[in-house]
């Protein structure tokens, strides 16, 4: 059962027929597709959390077992890598009977075991590669993670694994770009990284024509965007703490502002809808926020709009938590006196309340508005 805004199948089919949007001959096929799609629902978030906690604890116990038993010597890179590959193969092997297993406790035990083997295997593969090539060799962890993710992604049945694994690749790449580029300016590389993450997130989360199997990569890309935003929004030094050089945030801020405008257009149903007065005002506000150098606030609004449009509760919750956090960071990070900060806060708050008044006056914020 869905807790998102929804309509019952019969009412929708009737409405389509009445509006001339569905031919009588196609109705049966659409109804059958509805039935099939309804059977193939996403598991609810609480089951994913339960599964993740169980897998995490079991993984800790298995890693402790491997370490205490000295089956794995963490001095030998080849041995560690071999164990990692063996566990990944075991996970792939377990995923075959998992697909055929009937729903029940046996299925869930097998699913948890597969997820745990996959997690331990990936960790050991990366540890093994680092031992073989040395921690100081650039891009080893990223390439190993990319390889194991690419190989296991099609067979991995766990939706959480499909999000975390690509995110680990992105986080590792970000580390390489920032931590190992001490000689040069990382701004351009970071902007390019953010552009790729934005493109992937936009395509994989907002387009309904994207392959469903790739949707978790979209979430990972959104997580990567959030990580970049956290870095540049985290204080006065624009990421010096992580890159050892100041990062120029302006290209990323511009991208975020444009992304917010594009998201508003997407949520409204198309770029042409931006010509409508309330949406034009919203787009203008998004661009002004871009000029204010508030990447965190723009990103939080982006999360809220995407979460609201997709009826995605976790995204909305993250957005709700992110908005006040980034607001506090923005005002804290600005190099202003308390009096200037006070004036800025009261001014921006009054501007928003005036906008609220305007919405009320134009009828944009009423339940019965057209």
């Amino acid at each position: 059962m869905t807790t998102r805004p929804s309509i019952d199948a019969v009412t929708l089919l009737t409405s389509w027929r009445r509006a001339g949007l569905l031919a009588a001959a196609d109705t049966a096929a659409v109804a059958e597709a509805m039935m099939a799609s309804a059977r193939d629902t996403e598991p609810p978030l609480y089951l994913k959390i339960l599964s993740a906690i169980g897998t995490f604890l079991a993984t800790l116990f298995f890693v402790a077992f491997l370490a205490v038993s000295e089956l794995i010597s963490f001095r030998s890179g080849t041995g560690t890598l071999a164990w990692g590959v063996a566990l990944l193969l075991a996970a792939v092997g377990l995923s075959v009977p998992l697909r055929r297993a009937e729903p029940g406790i046996g299925h869930d035990f097998l699913a948890q075991a597969t997820f745990a083997a996959m997690a331990v295997g990936k960790v050991l593969c990366v540890a093994g590669a680092l031992l073989i090539f040395g921690e100081r060799t650039p891009w080893v962890a990223t390439l190993t993670l990319l390889l194991v993710t690419a190989v296991t992604y099609p067979v991995s049945g766990a939706s959480l694994d499909r999000v975390l694994s690509p995110y680990a690749v992105a986080a590792s790449a970000l580390f390489e770009l920032l931590e190992r580029s001490r000689g040069g300016d990382p701004s351009l590389a970071l902007a390019a990284f953010h552009a790729v993450a934005t493109g992937l997130a936009g395509w994989l989360l907002l387009s309904h024509r994207r392959p469903r199997i790739l949707a978790p990569i979209g979430l990972a890309a959104l997580g990567a965007m959030g990580t970049v935003v956290c870095i540049i929004a985290s204080g006065h030094d624009f990421g010096i703490w992580v890159s050892h050089r100041p990062i120029d945030p302006r290209p990323i801020e511009a991208m975020l502002a444009l992304s917010l405008v594009a998201t508003i257009a997407w949520a409204a149903g198309g770029i042409d809808r931006l010509a409508r007065p309330p949406l034009a005002a919203a787009a203008l506000g998004a661009l002004l926020l871009g000029f204010a150098g508030a990447p965190g606030i723009v990103f939080a609004l982006l999360l809220l709009i995407v979460g609201h449009a997709l009826h995605d509760v976790p995204l909305r919750v993250v957005g709700i938590l992110a908005l006040p956090s980034f607001l506090v960071l923005w005002y804290y990070g600005k190099d202003l006196t308390f009096l200037e900060k006070s004036a800025t806060l009261v001014g921006s708050g009054a501007l928003l309340l005036a906008a609220r008044g305007a919405m009320h006056a134009f009828g944009w914020g009423r339940e019965n508005a057209s």
């Binding site: 805004p5 019952d8 389509w16 079991a58 729903p103 806060l345 309340l353 508005a369």
Partner: protein, 337 residues
């Protein structure tokens, strides 16, 4: 399909079409772009976006103005005479109360004003404590804050006001324990008895009132606002108790009794009396973690774990959580039936 946790097939009569299903139909070209837009407008009429944006802007705008006022005081703090500081805060409290008085309860603006009034009482007490150097402990500030705003919370009939009031009470209970008891006692399970009893009592009251149709308390978030801290503290307290199973005194046994009561009541509460599978899942997560820890303690007897125990615990953990998932799925099916 997700293999980690799968759902059973729904009955045809129970099919609800949400955005994801419509997008899938459109992606397979079973329905046109116009039909997709039509369906999305039925599910989420565009006017709701206006309402949503209006509420967001109201809350944000009020928060920014309030924060600006706080910064103004911070800038001029040393130059403001003590009486003026207190008078200014009192004036803001009066203004907030006046807004509620003029507009009446049940509107977003008056709810924001009521929340501001309750928060400002805490600011007033903190400033008063700083000016007069009363030497009071932090728990006394929180307890006084809760006592002074209790009547407002009762009158306001607002879940947001109660949420803040309850957070203050929990802070009072925890800081009281930490400041009155010796340092070693801050790691005892008994520290959590008062918060568990308070949160548990409020959860019970919330469920009774929501069941009687009291609208302002019935928002689903209020259930989780009370339940999640309750389960979290119960889990931490249980793990703390199990970690040191010897030399249990009266207080520890009392904590154990409260813990058993909490878990024993929460399961039927959200399984039978007020069915909510997501709330039941929160309790199940806590119970599964506690059970896992109990098995580990039983196997090790408080000593170092050996090789076999780690392997056995890995399998046991998978078993416990797989059973929990299977049970929750069965419960969800029976609730939908």
């Amino acid at each position: 399909m997700n293999a980690d946790v799968t759902e059973a097939a729904p009955t045809p009569a129970a099919i609800r079409i949400d955005r994801r299903l419509i997008d899938r139909l459109a992606a397979r070209d079973l329905v046109s772009a116009a039909a997709r837009d039509h369906a999305l407008e039925l599910i989420e009429p565009p006017r709701r976006w206006g309402l949503w944006a209006a509420r967001l802007i109201t809350v944000l705008g009020a928060a920014l103005v309030l924060a600006g006022i706080v910064y103004f005081f911070a800038f001029n703090w040393n130059r403001i005479p003590p009486l003026t500081k207190l008078a200014a805060i009192a004036a803001m409290i009066a203004a907030a109360v006046a807004v509620v008085g003029i507009l009446g309860f049940g509107r977003l603006v008056s709810e924001v004003a009521a929340v501001a009034a309750v928060m400002l009482v805490g600011v007033f007490l903190a400033v008063d404590g700083q000016i007069h150097q009363t030497g009071a402990d932090a728990w006394q500030l929180f307890a006084g804050w809760a006592a002074l705003t209790l009547v407002w919370a009762i009158l306001a009939n607002s879940a947001a006001v109660w949420a803040i009031w309850l957070a203050v009470v929990n802070l009072a209970a925890l800081t009281w324990w930490d400041q009155v008891h010796p340092f070693a006692a801050t790691h005892q399970a008994t520290r959590y008895i008062v918060p568990m009893v308070v949160d548990g009592a409020f959860l019970a009251a919330r469920e009774v009132l929501a069941g009687r149709g009291v609208a302002w308390v019935a928002g689903r978030w209020t259930r989780f606002y009370l339940l999640l801290p309750l389960v979290a503290t119960a889990t931490v307290a249980a793990v703390t108790l199990i970690d040191r199973p010897r030399d249990l005194g009266t207080e520890e046994w009392s904590a154990a009794a409260v813990l058993v009561l909490v878990f024993a009541l929460l399961v039927p509460l959200h399984r039978r009396w007020r069915p909510d599978v997501a709330a039941l899942a929160a309790t199940t997560i806590g119970a599964a973690v506690v059970l896992d820890f109990v098995v580990f303690q039983l196997l090790t007897g408080g000593h170092r774990a050996d090789l076999g125990i780690f392997f056995f615990m890995g399998l046991t953990t998978l078993g416990i959580f797989a059973a929990a998932i299977a049970w929750l799925r069965a419960v969800a099916r029976s609730m939908e039936a």
